[in-house]
């Protein structure tokens, strides 16, 4: 068998490292031929997703190299690269990817020999580690070539799209259509009914739907539009369409890598001794993608693990020491809604297996997306976890009603309003439970937004794609609505809602947009504050 030859992708900045590699050439310094250099203008031009693409596409190791701090041709591009790289490393560490596979190094123009040495060392290290487990095998590549058996006709049948009455009500209810003149659920359905498959699949707007269910809930026919979208995106994804990926597709890469990864994740760093878990418990708390989103969205001031920790604190306080799995993965929600069914199935299979092995009677979620995915999508694809599923707000409401759970007086005093998350609300019909909890906390004055419960407005972003000005305008409108209630705090009980609202508030130009600043807080964090000793 031929010896394993690692493949290294090196992103080299034009002014320093690329020139250093040139100098290695002019000086005839020999090094192994395993590296392929991509020239960028600045190490600051290298985005974290570029590194993940390299890994997904077969690289055994990735090197990002630029000028030494202080020498950057663009003043601070290299420092920006370093900051992004630090975040990237936190994520790859959680994934369990060996640290030798992803490197950042400063190599100046004059350091041709150091470039050569760096490559040599990396090749040696990678030879010892072995090939990257993410190298696509011939079989998986062939499987990708084959189209799925699904056709548009099947989809129309399964989702009852044929029952469309041509009334256009869906479009008038659609929050995206309200802002984007080019988006119309009605027209999309119309095209499907006359079989314009190619046109639909290659229409970027296919990825604008938020699957918020505002349309189908009131469709006088029986059209399940979000399900239609979900399945049609499978066809689009097979054809290589993804819409306009937000964050460069970094999060999608992470999910795909997680799904294929044989590595054991390092996802419990946040689980310190103050939290109590018990691996024989009847109850499992599902953490999901929270540890990955935390470092990524730090720049927005959102730490998704705060919600996880608060939820665990609440459960512990109520005498529950749940199972926390050490290797659960993302529920697959975004992958499914991107049409990447292959990734979704891998994740579903993995999570179903693990939760079944844990032998629990109930799984509690702090994220409505995870909840909906386990409850509705897993069974649709044949994955049965076989136990009760609950959102933490439901769990708390139960405790309040059945067991007289009380909260401490005087811990919080706030005027709050509440965002019904689509996945909890219209998808699963849960509107009362979170309100029950809010009512029960003394010091909370609850003010409803104008559009609430099944009329609630989605927080505005689908599976991190097509995050455009229309989605932004939606959110601005929603935040203004929240502020108009007079509330000082907007309570959400979905980490995505919190992320998307905080993102909408980013206003860092000198000329400012509308003031939509309002405190955004998860229900779990609010409850954790109010627990009696």
């Amino acid at each position: 068998m031929a010896e394993f030859e690692p493949r290294i992708i090196a992103f080299a900045c034009n002014w320093c490292t690329y020139a250093a590699a040139d100098i290695a050439g002019t000086s005839r310094i020999h090094y192994p031929p395993n590296v392929r250099v991509i020239r960028v203008m600045c190490s600051g031009m290298v985005a974290p997703e570029h590194v993940l693409w390299a890994i997904e596409n077969g690289a055994d190791g990735v090197l990002v190299a630029g000028c030494h701090p202080g020498d950057c041709h663009y003043i601070s591009g290299n420092l920006k690269a370093e900051e992004k790289f630090r975040m990237l490393k936190r994520v790859t560490d959680i994934l369990g990817i060996e640290e030798e596979r992803v490197k950042l190094k400063w190599i100046a123009t004059s350091e041709g020999s150091i470039f050569a040495q760096t490559i040599e060392e990396m090749v040696e290290e990678l030879k010892k580690l072995g090939p990257s487990p993410f190298k696509p095998s011939k079989e998986s590549q062939e499987a990708k070539q084959g189209k799925s058996a699904l056709t548009l006709e099947n989809i129309v049948q399964e989702t009852k799209t044929y029952s469309c009455l041509d009334c256009g009500k869906c479009t008038s209810l659609c929050p995206i259509a309200e802002h984007d003149p080019a988006y119309s659920p009605f027209r999309m359905v119309g095209k499907a009914l006359v079989g314009l498959e190619d046109e639909i699949i290659h229409d970027k707007k296919l990825f604008s739907c938020l699957s918020c269910y505002a349309c189908s809930l009131r469709c006088p026919g029986d059209v399940d539009y979000p399900a239609f979208i979900q399945k049609t995106r499978l066809l689009a994804s097979d054809a290589g369409e993804q819409g306009d990926l937000a964050h460069g597709g970094f999060l999608h890469s992470v999910t795909r890598l997680m799904a294929r990864s044989p590595y054991k994740q390092k996802r419990l760093e946040w689980l310190t001794k103050q939290y109590r878990t018990y691996d024989q418990s009847d109850i499992l708390f599902f953490v999901g993608c929270s540890p990955y989103l935390a470092p990524f969205f730090e720049y927005l001031g959102v730490r998704t693990l705060d919600i996880t920790e608060a939820s665990l604190k609440i459960l512990n306080h109520l005498g529950i020491e749940p199972v926390i799995l050490s290797d659960e993965k993302c529920c697959g929600h975004d992958a499914l809604w991107m049409g990447d069914v292959e990734t979704f199935k891998r994740l579903a299979e993995h999570n179903t297996k693990l939760t079944k092995e844990a032998g629990v009677k109930k799984i509690i979620f702090s994220c409505p997306e995870g909840y909906r995915t386990f409850k509705l999508d897993y069974p649709n694809y044949g994955f049965e976890v076989g136990c009760e599923l609950q959102h933490i707000s439901e769990f708390l409401a139960e405790r309040i009603d059945k067991y007289g759970l009380k909260f401490k007086e005087g811990e919080v005093k706030k005027k709050v309003t509440y965002q019904d998350p689509c996945r909890l609300g219209r998808h699963l019909g849960i509107y009362d439970a979170p309100r029950r909890v809010l009512e029960a906390i003394p010091g909370i004055e609850f003010l409803e937004m104008e559009r609430n419960r099944d009329w609630s407005l989605c927080c505005g972003t689908g599976p991190f794609t097509n995050c455009d000005l229309y989605s932004h305008e939606m959110r601005i409108g929603r935040l203004l609505e929240a502020k108009a209630t007079g509330a000082e705090t907007l309570i959400t009980c979905c980490p995505k809602c919190q992320i998307h609202f905080k993102c909408a508030m980013v206003n860092r130009g000198e000329e400012k947009g509308p003031d939509v600043e309002i405190e955004v807080m998860d229900l779990a964090n609010l409850v954790a504050k109010s627990l009696s000793e």
Binding site: P33, R39, M45, G58, S76, D244, D468, R508
Partner: protein
């Protein structure tokens, strides 16, 4: 999109590439790649016949993309881009694969090197598919120049440009030009009288038809980019009509209000209405509004100057005036400050009489200074012994790590004057003697021959003498490192050589002009060796001590070098705008401002447009570094020629997935 037709050219580079890489196999491989219409190999692609191959194929085969696999793009990318341009193909529809510096010159195994070369060509062919024609834009250069700071560096810069026939706006913050050099007595090593060599230049500046002198003025705001800057300058009110004032000085004599003189570094006084020194340019009076009793009392008290001014030049109704200038280039020559020696209390500055700085000593020895050139102690006596302490705050991790370059030389100069004028015993307390210029070492030797005592040891402290014998003396303590013993040297006067530091408002100046400071606080040049006058901002130059401590010859040279930089721009008349720059997809943009916050060059700006916030990129400011595109959360920002698709397709081709 029109059908893409790619031509691939593999260079042998004699045996440089062909000796290791199988170039024929490589060219054959390239033929199999998508959209490749022709694939050739040739001995020297950069030669005229080599380039002709490309040009002919473009014309005859209707190529609309070209890939050359040869040396580093840093060598010949521009050559082949030009060849494309000559054949009427947009130069940005060209891609370069480096199979020499990155392949044939660093690998020895022929098979492996050829495989790698194939990957590199594969990536280039995949990428060139996504290239789009980019417009090469030019913008005209405004032939006026702004020089900020009228010390010796600024004066030299202004004169060179003005003598070349172009207009200069020379802005100076103080009431008169001259900077620190006009405060000096003599200059080392020639001992030229500073005023004598500088004042003719100052006069020339004052009268030059091409120089508009804006003294007692400050830059408020700068916008625009190279070739087209807009600068707001505040002309501060002197309360004296410059056109009427004849500089007779009667107002100064009659003004009753005395104030420590900034020019005399506190050793002398001026009045509330004053001409800073006799040879001031412009030679007009200025009223210090904070000290003028007439102004402070709202016009009720004093007014002596009005009474006595025969030219009727006093005008208390004057207000600051803000004007806007349009210039093509800017030269910053804002000079330096000295470290406040109060920060080093062990030397007794500010505590004991007769501890003074080198600059104060300059004013003392200067014949036109506050003591008419008499070197004297605070009580009027002539000092019999003087210690000169080097490196006060320089070469010191506690204050400034760097060497301030000029102090050893002026310390020698002061020693010389002390010996010559008053025959005082002089002790030079030094660590090293840095005499690196032309005739500097010889000057050091001369001063040594004049009987100056050199003690190698950094002074620990200066104390007051307490014994009867030493009363009134300053005791300087240092280890003589050569003798290995601690010395106590009682002297009458101590002269400190404080570190040269950036101006106290250097950070604000840097921010105004969008340039950066080094860790030391001095302005950052584009390259310390090869571009000491340019900054990261095209069209903005630095000269003199604001860039780093230096002596007068170097300041002059830098002022003139900066002028050459400005003249280059003016002469060329236009600037080429970088084409591979940032671009905003307005549908995806939220107007969040992260791009604006990230950019070092002020290129993207969020603004209100059609009722929404959206980012717009100033094409002349953008350098195409990519930082904003990486920071943009929605993918709205991309860099032309380095788009998401382009990078992705290269990664895919090189990471191995497409090679099975």
């Amino acid at each position: 999109m029109e059908k893409v037709r790619i031509g691939v050219y593999v260079c042998h580079c004699g045996l440089n590439i062909a000796g290791t890489v199988d170039v024929q196999e490589l060219a054959k491989y390239a033929e199999t790649l998508p959209h490749v219409v022709i694939s050739r190999d040739y001995r020297y692609m950069c030669s005229d016949p080599g380039q002709d191959l490309i040009k002919n194929d473009i014309k005859e085969l209707g190529l609309n993309r070209v890939v050359v696999a040869s040396c580093s793009p840093r060598m010949h990318e521009h050559t082949f881009r030009k060849a494309c341009q000559d054949a009427a193909l947009n130069p940005y529809l060209y891609e370069h694969a480096n199979i020499r510096e990155h392949c044939s010159w660093v690998h020895t195994n022929r098979e492996q090197a050829t495989e790698k070369a194939k990957d590199l060509v594969h990536a280039a062919v995949k990428r060139v598919y996504y290239h789009e024609p980019l417009e090469i834009k030019e913008s005209p250069v405004n032939p006026n120049t702004l020089v900020v700071g009228a010390g010796i560096a600024g004066i030299e810069a202004a004169l060179k440009i003005a003598n070349g026939g172009h207009k200069v706006y020379l802005v100076e913050r103080e009431p008169s030009i001259g900077g620190h050099m006009i405060q000096l007595d003599t200059t080392f090593p020639t001992l030229d009288c500073s005023e004598c060599i500088l004042t003719p230049k100052m006069t020339e500046v004052g009268h030059h038809p091409n120089i508009e002198l804006l003294a007692y003025s400050e830059v408020e705001e700068v916008s625009g980019s190279v070739g087209n800057f807009k600068v707001k300058v505040r002309e501060k009110a002197r309360y004296v009509d410059e056109s009427k004032c004849i500089g007779c000085g009667v107002c100064e004599q009659k003004c009753p209000w005395k104030v420590p003189s900034e020019f005399e570094v506190g050793l002398g006084t001026r009045r509330a209405i004053y001409i800073p020194f006799a040879q001031a340019v412009p030679n007009v009076a200025t009223i210090d509004k904070d000290r003028c009793v007439y102004i402070q009392s709202g016009g009720k008290k004093c007014g002596a100057c009005i009474k006595f001014c025969e030219a009727n030049a006093i005008d208390f109704n004057q207000t600051d005036r803000v004007i806007e200038l349009e210039v093509g280039a800017i030269i910053l020559a804002t000079g330096y400050d000295l470290l406040d020696s109060n920060q080093i209390p062990q030397y007794g500055y500010g505590k004991y009489d007769n501890v003074i700085t080198g600059l104060e000593f300059e004013r003392m020895t200067c014949a036109s200074g506050p003591t008419q050139g008499k070197i004297q102690l605070k009580d009027g006596r002539t000092p019999e012994s003087v210690a000169i302490i080097h490196c006060v705050g320089s070469r010191d991790k506690n204050y400034r790590e760097y060497c301030s370059r000029i102090c050893c030389m002026y310390a020698l100069k002061h020693a010389h004057h002390l010996r010559e004028k008053i025959n005082a015993a002089v002790y030079e307390m030094y660590i090293d003697m840095r005499c690196t210029g032309d005739a500097y070492e010889e000057f050091y030797e001369r001063v040594g021959e004049e009987g100056v005592t050199f003690i190698r040891g950094k002074v620990a402290q200066v104390k007051q003498g307490i014994t009867e014998e030493e009363k009134g003396k300053l005791i300087v303590t240092a280890e003589d490192t050569f003798l290995g013993s601690i010395l106590r040297v009682p002297v009458d006067m101590v002269i400190l050589c404080p570190a040269m530091v950036p101006r106290s408002d250097a950070a604000e100046i840097a921010r105004k002009f969008s340039i950066t400071q080094k860790a030391t606080g001095f302005f950052l040049e584009r390259h310390p060796k090869l571009e000491p006058q340019a900054t990261a901002m095209d069209g903005i130059f630095v000269a003199g001590c604001c860039q780093f401590p230096k002596d007068i010859p170097d300041s002059v040279a830098q002022g003139r070098a900066a002028a050459a930089g400005a003249l280059e721009l003016i002469d060329r008349g236009k600037v080429t705008i970088e084409a591979a720059i940032a671009h905003v997809d307005e549908i995806l943009c939220h107007g969040c401002g992260i791009c604006e916050e990230t950019c070092e060059f002020n290129a993207p700006k969020v603004m209100s447009k059609n009722g929404r916030m959206v980012s717009a990129v100033n094409e002349t400011l953008c350098k195409g570094c990519g930082a904003c595109a990486v920071a943009c959360p929605t993918g709205a920002m991309s860099i032309k020629h380095f788009t998401h698709d382009e990078i992705f397709t290269m990664v895919r081709a090189l990471a191995g997935i497409e090679n099975g």
